[in-house]
Symmetry: C2
Subunit: 112 residues, 2 copies
């Protein structure tokens, strides 16, 4: 079981900003997972992998693909208090779910 979080590389997020957006996406997608999946993922060490998304279009494509496959997912849009315009999509999380299912959606993305 794993969760993959894809974050945009094209909007110049600082390191702390990036980490906060990834954490938002992670928690939101986690809450959509079944209790059994949550439990198994945590028991295995709640693996999280952060990868690169080239831009807004790729972010939404990932979310759509995850949805069609029935995987928990969440896109985060920034509240815009700092650095970015309000409503800017920043990151999408896919899973927790079985590794092979997540890889079918995010397997071709590079590690951040």
């Amino acid at each position: 079981m794993k969760q993959v979080i894809a974050a945009r590389t094209d909007i110049g997020m600082g390191q702390g900003k990036l980490a906060a957006q990834v954490a938002h996406a992670s928690l939101k997608a986690y809450e959509y997972a079944d209790e059994d999946v949550k439990r198994r993922w945590k028991a295995e060490g709640q693996q999280k992998v952060v990868v690169k998304a080239s831009g807004e279009r790729e972010l939404y494509a990932i979310a759509e693909e995850a949805k069609q496959r029935g995987l928990p997912s969440a896109v985060i849009e920034d509240a815009g208090r700092t650095q970015l315009e309000p409503g800017t999509p920043t990151a999408v999380a896919v899973g927790p779910a079985p590794d092979a299912d997540v890889d079918q959606v995010t397997g071709d993305l590079s590690l951040f």
Copy 2:
């Protein structure tokens, strides 16, 4: 309500690694919070702030202080699959909790 996550600056984590460790800490501390606190924090937009901790000693001092004040908190120790030695403490999350309570523990730390 907010959650502050302090991550170490002295162990050379890459951006993706940092984000994953922050997300681990965030989720783990979140799960220690009361249901009512969780609900309120999410309703307010689940604010997360990432700040700098100078090293292992400061990380544990933050965790200890949070514990003594009865705030949800969690220290993450890396599984050591990549970049770091197994068991290396990387990040600590404090909250979600009322802003003033969290600030008493992490208020003097710089934004990441």
